[in-house]
């Protein structure tokens, strides 16, 4: 299973790509998350410009098995939303590390619980 080294991870199975200055984050679901969810049929996306705080839910992911919320690991403002996922939510299943969900900018706080690839791989092994 792939765990790209350049990404950070949350215990809720999201990947986070931080900009160099730490002010912008791109967030998506990990390969393990999409495997557990099964075929994704719908993603309820937020609006650009929404303010968001750590642990706020910013999207709902509906699969054939369940509906799950996606929680933010950062406090900031939603600057971009991947609207391709409206019509093609299956992209998260097909290429989870390419199918980003949102970009959050003006980050004022980042959760101190982010994992690196190695730490996240260990977590997945424990859960699996």
């Amino acid at each position: 299973m792939a765990f790209p080294k350049e990404l950070k991870y949350t215990a809720d199975h999201e990947w986070v790509k931080l900009s160099e200055d730490g002010k912008t984050a791109t967030i998506g679901l990990t390969n393990y998350a999409q495997e557990q969810l099964g075929d994704i049929v719908f993603i309820d996306l937020p609006e650009e410009g929404d303010d968001i705080e750590i642990e706020d839910s910013f999207a709902d992911v509906e699969s054939v098995k369940s509906v799950s919320e996606v929680y933010s690991p950062v406090t900031g403002e939603i600057s971009k939303v991947n609207e391709d996922l409206d019509d093609a939510p299956e992209k998260v299943n097909e290429a989870p590390y390419e199918a980003w969900i949102v970009e959050i900018t003006n980050i004022s706080e980042i959760t101190d619980e982010l994992l690196d690839a190695e730490g996240y791989e260990k977590l997945v092994e424990e859960e699996a």
Partner: protein, 477 residues
């Protein structure tokens, strides 16, 4: 199979639509439709065959075993329908003068008395149309109660992580914020976690006991006390009442409001079988918040009253009356001895099946279960690639309904089995044989399980396609 519109032939007709027996009224021009109604033109045999064909593609409790966990698919005795079909019940109109329907109104007061005795509640409303509607009604009453005490800080509802999805959904509809509490190792509410989240903002707790993994939470009186001490109220989700009816009462566990899934516990039709009925019962101190049309027996007969601080009507008229007639019939038919006996047998049947399967299928929350148990296919999936979905699809080949899958979410690859009390030992033995055979197939010929079901009219349904591109109406050419 052909859709009813595909059977349609121009000029074909039947005489099943009754003649107009009320005066014709002229519809204002603005509201008149301009095009023809798209009704299928079919004969009576066409219709009859259409529905028979539909029935052949479905599986109901009249076809065979139906252990759909959390749904209590017990067999509904035919006497329920006989009573509901009595002309004195079936031909009533809700606007009829009350003195002409006193017998029918006694169905409400008698049901309140008997269901109140079973649940330990003092009053009941029969207005909610089904279980989740009952939850919604109860939470409106929670809100009205707190507001009546000028206690406006209480905006949080606590639900355990194993709760039925309707609990947080109903709370959210009423405007409450949801707080999740985790389950402990036994699958029950973690008391310390609960203590950590209660406070001045706690409006109440929503809980089902036995819980979603089929375990009776022994700490229940302590749980409800923690909520009461914090100033909140306790709500009992009646989804899992079947194994405890006539044995223990939610009212004695410390609950203030209960809802009942009449269609589960008291044998009325499920889902497409007809309208539901989700009465809620409350303790005396909440009576004045009940919805309108609360039936009360007076010296002059039964009357509908409006509680002084009512939350208002939650539905037109008095609720789905004929469903309640069926439930009352069931309760009177089983009687004081039969009700707990049914509960005991529901528990016995679940434990019998669990005992004969748990050596092959892992049961993460073990010990004596109540009316249902949850197995995990996780290890089998890791070993063979056969998932809970594959096992469920294989069961279809044996003219049995599969268990509930992938719920509760705290158990990976979950299969949730609820046999109910109305199944014989022979049926359970047959099901055990089938489940064990599928386990063996998973290891010896997994491709067979992946390809199942082989003998049903439709094999694997395209669930993803159905969810992404639903076609829910006929496209007329």
């Amino acid at each position: 199979m052909e859709l009813i519109f595909e059977r349609s032939k121009p000029g074909r007709y039947n005489q099943m639509i009754p003649d107009l027996d009320v005066p014709e009224v002229a519809i204002p021009e603005a509201f008149k439709r301009e095009s023809e109604l798209h009704l299928p033109e079919v004969s009576q045999p066409d219709i009859s065959r259409h529905y028979t064909e539909l029935a052949k593609q479905a599986h109901g409790v009249n076809d065979g075993f139906y252990p759909l966990g959390s749904c209590t698919m017990k067999y509904n005795p035919k006497i329920n329908d006989e009573m509901a079909a009595l002309p004195g019940f079936a031909n009533l109109h809700p606007l009829q003068p009350l003195d002409t329907i006193q017998g029918a109104l006694e169905v409400f007061t008698e049901s309140e008395k008997l269901l109140g005795e079973i649940t330990g509640m003092d009053h009941m409303t029969f207005q909610p149309a089904a279980g989740a509607h009952g939850e919604f009604t109860a939470l409106l009453m929670f809100k009205a109660y707190h507001e009546s005490r000028k206690d406006s800080k209480r905006h949080k509802i606590i639900v355990p992580d194993s709760a039925h999805g309707t609990n947080p959904a109903s709370a959210s509809m009423v405007g409450f914020e949801i707080v999740n509490v985790p389950s402990d190792e036994a699958g029950c509410v973690d008391l310390e976690a609960l203590k950590a989240v209660v406070g001045e903002d706690t409006a109440g707790l929503m809980l089902t006991n036995p819980n979603t993994v089929g375990i009776f939470d022994k700490n229940i009186t302590e749980i409800t006390k923690i909520i009461h001490d914090a100033g909140g109220l306790n709500y009992y989700d009646g989804a899992n009442l079947n194994p405890i009816m006539g044995v223990v009462r939610p009212g004695d566990m410390g609950f203030d409001i209960v809802h009942l899934n009449i269609h589960k516990t008291f044998s009325t039709p499920h889902g497409g079988g007809g309208p539901g009925c989700g009465p809620i019962g409350c303790k005396a101190f909440l009576k004045e918040f009940l919805p309108k049309f609360y039936p009360v027996a007076t010296e002059k007969g039964v009357e509908f009253t409006t509680p002084s601080q009512t939350i208002g009507s939650v539905k037109g008229f008095y609720g789905h009356f004929l469903v309640l007639v069926r439930a009352l019939t069931y309760i009177l038919y089983l009687g004081k001895e039969g009700i707990p006996e049914a509960a005991h047998n529901a528990v016995l049947n679940a434990n019998y099946m669990k005992h004969h399967l748990e050596d092959l299928y892992e049961v993460p929350y073990g010990g004596i279960c109540m009316h249902e148990f949850v197995m995990s296919v996780e290890k089998i999936k890791k070993d063979t690639g056969v998932s809970a979905l594959d096992v469920a699809k294989s069961i279809l080949e044996h003219e049995m309904h599969p268990p509930t899958m992938y719920f509760p979410m705290i158990v990976p690859e979950a299969l949730m089995v609820e046999p109910t009390e109305t199944e014989s030992k022979e049926t359970l033995d047959e099901a055990i044989k089938v489940y064990r055979q599928i386990y063996e197939d998973a290891y010896k010929q997994p491709e067979k399980v992946h390809a199942a079901p082989a003998n049903t009219p439709i094999r694997r349904v395209d669930e993803v396609g159905a969810a992404r591109n639903p076609k829910i109406r006929y496209e007329f050419s």
